[in-house]
C-alpha cells in the first residue's frame, strides 16, 4: 500500500514537471495551438510560429496536431476545454466540420482565433486571420496565361474538398483562365494537399492525357509531387507546374526552374496576428474584427530572390 502511494506521488511530480517543460513556463496562462496537420512544413511553420509568438507575449503554449482528422481535432478540443486553457489559436481541418469544436470552446468562454483556414460560421471564432487565397490565385492565373499562353491543355490538382481554401484558390484561378476559350482543362482531381497523393494523381492524369502543357496545384506540396511525377515521366520542362503557399522547397524550385510559379502566403504574419489578437482579447479588448485577410504575393523567376524562409527576405 505504501509502495503504491509513493509510486503515485512520484508519478504526480513527474507529470507536473513534464507539463511545465512542455508549456514553456509563461505566466499569463496556457494557450493551445491546434494545427490541422504537422505533416506539411508550411503548417509546421504556422504552428511553431504561433506557439513562439504566444510565448513571447507571456503565455505557455502547447501545440496539437490534428493529423487532418476531424475526430482527432475534436479529441484535442475535449482535452483543451477540460484543462484550463485561456485561448485557442486554431487551424481547422474542415470549414464546416470544425465549427462545432470552435463553438464549444467559445461557449465555455475560451476564445478561438482561426489561422489560415476558415470556418463557415463567423461567430464561432473571435477573429479569423486568413490568406487572401482568391486574389493570390487571380495573380497566379494571370501569370499562367502570360507564360503558358492563351491556347493550351492543362490539369488541376485540388486540395481537401471540405476546405474553403481549396475552392477559393480554384475559383480565383478559374476566374481568369476560364475567360480564355483556348485554355482547356483536361482533368481536375483532388489530392488532399498531400505530396504523395498528388504524385499518383499526376501520373494517372499524364497517362490519360498525354498532351498536357501545365498543371495548377492547390498547394506547394502537391506541386512538388506533380513535379516529381513529371520528372519520372521524362517530361520535365514540357509541363509547367504552378503551386501555392511559398514553402521553402517550392521557392527553391521556382529558382531552379522546376516550378513556373507559386504564391507566397505569410504563415508567420498570420501566426503573429493571431497571438496578438488573443492577447488583446484576453486583456479585455473584445471589439476585434471578425475576419482579416492577409495578402498573398506571386513568386516567379523574376522576383524569386526577394522570397524565402516563408516570407519576404527584404
Amino acid at each position: 500500500m505504501k509502495l503504491k502511494s509513493v509510486f503515485i506521488s512520484v508519478l504526480c511530480v513527474l507529470t507536473a514537471l513534464t507539463g511545465c517543460r512542455q508549456d514553456g513556463g509563461g505566466s499569463k496562462g496556457r494557450v493551445a495551438v491546434v494545427i490541422s496537420t504537422l505533416n506539411n512544413p508550411w503548417f509546421v511553420v504556422l504552428g511553431e510560429s504561433a506557439a513562439q509568438y504566444a510565448r513571447e507575449l507571456g503565455y505557455e503554449a502547447v501545440l496539437f496536431d490534428s493529423q487532418n482528422n476531424p475526430s482527432k481535432e475534436a479529441e484535442h478540443f475535449d482535452n483543451i476545454l477540460s484543462s484550463g486553457y485561456k485561448a485557442i489559436l486554431f487551424n481547422p481541418t474542415d470549414a464546416d466540420g470544425s465549427t462545432v469544436n470552435a463553438k464549444a470552446a467559445m461557449a465555455k468562454g475560451v476564445p478561438v482565433f482561426c489561422m489560415d483556414r476558415e470556418i463557415n460560421e463567423p461567430g464561432a471564432a473571435v477573429t479569423q486571420i486568413l490568406s487572401d487565397n482568391y486574389s493570390g490565385c487571380i495573380a497566379l492565373g494571370e501569370y499562367f496565361v502570360e507564360t503558358v499562353g492563351r491556347e493550351a491543355n492543362y490539369v488541376e490538382i485540388l486540395g481537401l474538398v471540405g476546405d474553403n481554401n481549396t475552392w477559393a484558390r480554384s475559383r480565383g484561378f478559374h476566374s481568369v483562365v476560364d475567360c480564355f476559350e483556348g485554355l482547356h482543362m483536361l482533368a481536375q482531381q483532388n489530392a488532399d494537399f498531400d505530396q504523395n497523393k498528388a504524385m499518383e494523381v499526376m501520373e494517372t492524369m499524364m497517362q490519360a492525357n498525354p498532351d498536357i502543357q501545365a498543371v495548377f496545384c492547390g498547394n506547394d506540396a502537391m506541386a512538388m509531387g506533380a513535379s516529381q511525377a513529371i520528372l519520372a515521366a521524362g517530361k520535365s520542362g514540357r509541363i509547367k507546374v504552378f503551386g501555392f503557399d511559398g514553402s521553402d522547397d517550392a521557392v527553391g524550385a521556382v529558382r531552379d526552374g522546376r516550378l513556373a510559379a507559386t504564391a507566397m502566403q505569410f504563415p508567420k504574419t498570420m501566426a503573429r496576428t493571431a497571438a496578438q489578437f488573443a492577447d488583446r482579447y484576453l486583456s479585455g479588448e473584445h471589439d476585434l474584427p471578425r475576419k482579416i485577410p492577409v495578402a498573398v504575393e506571386l513568386v516567379n523567376p523574376e522576383n524569386v530572390s526577394h522570397f524565402g524562409n516563408f516570407g519576404r527576405r527584404d
Binding site: A95, E118, N120, P122, G123, I129, L130, D132, N133, Y134, S135, I138, G141, E142, N164, W167, A168, R171, G172, S175, V176, C179, F266, T269, T273, P289, R290, K291, I292, P293, V294, A295, E297
Partner: protein, 203 residues
C-alpha cells in the same frame, strides 16, 4: 398486462413523435441563420451599383492629384486617402479623369491623362479591385470569404455589361471614373491600370 404494455409503448411513441418534431435552438443562432439566408450578395451589390456609383465620382481623386501625392510622400498619401483590405494589401483609390485621343487594342483603352498613361481594360476584368476600392462592402458582413469573392465576380460582370460599350468609339475623348491599386512601398508606376465604374465617350 398486455394492455398496459401497449399503452406504455403507445405513450413512448407519442412522446418520441413530439420530441423529434420539435427542434430547440438558441434564439441568437436562429436569427443569425435567418439573416444569412436572407442575405443575397448580388442584391447588395446591385443596390450599391444603382445608388452609390455616381457618388464615387465626387470622392474620386484626379490622376494628377494621385501622382503628385505619391511623389510627395507615398505612405502618408496612401494612409490619408486609400482604402486597404487587411494586412499587406495594396492601397485602393477611386480616380477620375479624361483620356484625350485614346487608342484601343480590343483589350485596353489607353491614353494620356494629366501626364500619366492610363490603361482601362475593356475585355477581361478580373480580381477584387472594383470591390475593394468602392468601400461598399465589409468582409465581416459575409458568411465566408467565398461569398465575399462572389461579389467581385458579380461586380466585374456588371462592369463588362453596363460600363463597357459593345463597340468602343474610335477617337475623341473619354471621361472615366474607376478603381486603381497602388503599392506605396514600390516605385510609382509608369502607368495606371484603372477598372472603370463609369465611362463617357465624347466625339
Amino acid at each position: 398486462m398486455k394492455k398496459a404494455l401497449k399503452i406504455a409503448l403507445g405513450a413512448a411513441a407519442a412522446v418520441c413523435a413530439v420530441v423529434f418534431a420539435v427542434r430547440i435552438e438558441p434564439l441568437e443562432e436562429h436569427l443569425a441563420a435567418e439573416m444569412a439566408a436572407k442575405f443575397k450578395p448580388e442584391e447588395v451589390a446591385d443596390w450599391h451599383w444603382e445608388h452609390d456609383r455616381a457618388r464615387l465620382q465626387d470622392e474620386a481623386l484626379g490622376i494628377g492629384e494621385l501622382l503628385s501625392g505619391l511623389k510627395a510622400d507615398p505612405q502618408a498619401f496612401c494612409d490619408a486617402h486609400a482604402r486597404v483590405l487587411g494586412i499587406g494589401s495594396g492601397s485602393f483609390f477611386v480616380v477620375k479623369g479624361t483620356l484625350e485621343g485614346f487608342t484601343s487594342d480590343g483589350e485596353y483603352l489607353s491614353g494620356d491623362c494629366e501626364g500619366s498613361l492610363v490603361r482601362i481594360p475593356v475585355k477581361y476584368i478580373f480580381g477584387n479591385l472594383a470591390r475593394d476600392a468602392s468601400g461598399w462592402f465589409n468582409l465581416d458582413d459575409f458568411q465566408n470569404t467565398m461569398a465575399f469573392n462572389e461579389i467581385s465576380s458579380y461586380l466585374n460582370s456588371r462592369i463588362l455589361s453596363d460600363v463597357i460599350p459593345s463597340e468602343i468609339p474610335q477617337g475623341g475623348s473619354c471621361d472615366f471614373c474607376g478603381a486603381v491599386e497602388v503599392k506605396p512601398a514600390e516605385a510609382i508606376p509608369a502607368s495606371f491600370r484603372v477598372i472603370p465604374y463609369l465611362l463617357e465617350f465624347h466625339d
